[in-house]
């Protein structure tokens, strides 16, 4: 589903990602863990072309992200085509980024209605279904400012799902939440994982990673240090840096 081939990214002279190669299979849930500033979020943002790679190739479902390759040359995609690629990739942000001037329902309806041009009645029905799926059927008409952090993040998940993505990216979805609200968001994500959608989750929730993920990647300094089944990596880390990191978080 997602194939990263020696992906590198630098901001000026600061190299954030160094030749990351990994593969995520269809239906797989991959968790990325690692210290802050290790490049996990940047990698996630590269997958839907919010950041532009400096080297390497990244493809989702066989489509090269951000470029078109022909006759051995790379052509930058028109923003319209890049937007088309992003439609199929849902993203959930650390700070929710809900649209504050729209109600929860309007937030979920916005993209299917404007981007896909689906009829309003149909979109609204689906949006209500999605909101009840994340346990917010009674919060449809609330503005984000009147929802708790956990509820906002669940609306954000529903908003991403409304585009029926092939792939969901979660960028530290619970890091900005009060500890007591983390559980409700993780429960929704667990439900999603069970539904078979492909997910890449950047997280610090090791319990979630152990329980839900099919694979776990430990990133540090822009490099994949260790990868494997979550149980193996978490209980029996091979690399010294992984051991040092896990001894602090677990």
């Amino acid at each position: 589903m997602v194939v990263a081939d020696r992906v590198s990214k630098s901001f000026g002279t600061n190299q954030v990602l160094r030749s990351i190669s990994l593969t995520v299979r269809r239906g797989e849930v991959m968790c990325m863990v690692g210290p802050s500033g290790s490049g996990k979020s940047t990698f996630l943002r590269c997958i839907n072309h919010l950041e532009v790679l400096t080297a390497g190739r990244l493809s989702v479902d066989g489509d090269l992200i951000g470029y078109r390759e022909a006759n051995g040359k790379l052509y930058e995609l028109h923003p319209r085509e890049a937007a088309r690629q992003r439609r199929d990739i849902g993203m959930v942000f650390q700070l929710f980024n809900l649209f504050p001037h729209m109600t929860a329902l309007e937030n979920v309806m916005e993209a299917p209605q404007r981007v896909k041009g689906q009829p309003k009645a149909q979109v609204e029905q689906r949006a209500r279904d999605l909101l009840s799926r994340v346990g917010l059927a009674d919060r449809c008409d609330y503005y984000p400012a009147h929802l708790s952090g956990g509820q906002q993040q669940r609306v954000a998940i529903a908003r991403a799902l409304a585009m029926e993505p092939k792939l969901m990216l979660f960028d530290e979805p619970t890091s900005a939440l009060d500890p007591e609200l983390v559980g409700e968001v993780l429960d929704v994500m667990k439900g999603l994982a069970e539904s078979g959608i492909t997910m890449i989750v950047v997280t610090h929730e090791m319990g979630f990673a152990r329980e839900v993920a099919d694979s776990l990647v430990f990133v540090d300094g822009g490099v994949v240090v260790e990868t494997g089944r979550p149980g193996d990596v978490l209980s029996n880390p091979q690399h010294q840096r992984t051991q040092a990191f896990l001894s602090k978080v677990l």
Partner: protein
């Protein structure tokens, strides 16, 4: 507070203290009211104000027509200025350095010279460019207009006011666009929305909250700046018209009062309009206002548990 709860032996006695007096506040208030009253009584009797003339000319046909012209000048030039201002603001935020510089240059020229001078220039347009040609440069034009015939002084006044105002509006819009969190643009982009959709549906509506108050200022300022269009020369606006009338009657003071009353009337209407616009665009962010759509007494929280109880306080606090 205020509920007659049954006496609880554990509860302490409510405070019933003598309120602190503020004698100087009272003195100041009396002095101000007395001063104002003196001024009003004096003004009512002073012959120079000539109140009968004020009453006579307040609804004079020439004056009310001039007031309408002033209103039209304000509305037309403001609409053009806002549209052009949005374009210029977006131009300044594009990555294209040429487009950016053009917008900057526009701002530099039109904000850097007095509007009065600009209006005189527009009045002389027909002298500088005798005809307006449409066609391919250096070829015979397809259409040709004589400038003085094609553009009335009213149109020149609108153009002059609008182009000057657009430079100010572009800065206001730019500030508004920059005030919207970058995460909003990212979220919209990640959903596959195009740049234009993101702008129109996500960024602009949110920036309105920042844009409207100073724009209201600009509209009111524009209403008064229209009194300068005599420089074009366009002479059917409120101020110029009332000056013309006083030139016949040799009695300028009541005419100035008449014009001022009309300006004040329009300004008051604009202020009411601004209030409603601000309320409209405070949707979802107006923390100082209880959410209309949410059922009264309930707030964030899952409908159960301590979160709901805690948040339910906020709507009441707003009303208090």
């Amino acid at each position: 507070m205020g509920n007659p709860e049954p006496a609880d032996p554990c509860e302490s006695e409510p405070i019933r203290a003598i309120r602190l007096r503020h004698p100087w506040r009272t003195v100041l208030a009396i002095v101000l009211v007395l001063g104002l009253a003196l001024f009003v009584i004096d003004a009512a009797q002073r012959p120079a104000y000539d109140w009968p003339s004020v009453a006579k000319y307040l609804f004079d046909r020439r004056i009310s027509q001039a007031a309408l012209n002033t209103l039209q000048l304000t509305v037309y030039s403001m609409v053009i200025a806002i549209l052009l201002g949005v374009v210029l603001a977006v131009m300044r935020l594009t990555p294209n350095p040429v487009v950016k510089s053009v917008a900057w240059f526009y701002l530099w020229v039109f904000r850097g010279t007095p509007v009065y001078v600009q209006l005189v220039f527009w009045g002389l347009l027909a002298v500088i460019y005798q005809s307006i040609d449409i066609g391919i440069p250096f070829m015979d034009p397809w259409y040709s207009f004589e400038t003085s015939a094609a553009l009335s002084t009213f149109m020149l006044a609108v153009i002059g006011l609008a182009l000057n105002e657009a430079s100010y509006m572009s800065e206001i819009v730019r500030a508004g666009l920059l005030s919207v969190n970058r995460g909003q643009e990212e979220a919209a982009t990640a959903l596959g929305m195009s740049w234009f959709q993101t702008m129109r549906r996500i960024i602009l509506p949110q920036s309105m909250r920042v844009i409207i108050p100073p724009t209201g200022n600009e509209v009111i300022s524009m209403l008064k700046t229209t009194s300068l269009v005599t420089a074009v020369p366009y002479s059917f606006d409120l101020y110029t018209r009332s000056r013309d009338i006083s030139a016949e009657t040799f009695n300028p003071i009541p005419m100035l009062i008449v014009a001022s009353l009309w300006y004040l009337f329009f300004t008051s209407i604009l202020m009411v309009g601004q209030y409603f616009l601000e309320r409209r665009f405070a949707r979802g962010v107006g923390e100082r206002r209880a959410d209309r759509k949410a059922p009264a007494g309930s707030g964030p929280g899952d409908g159960a548990g301590p979160v709901a109880g805690k948040a339910a306080v906020s709507p009441e606090r707003v009303d208090a």
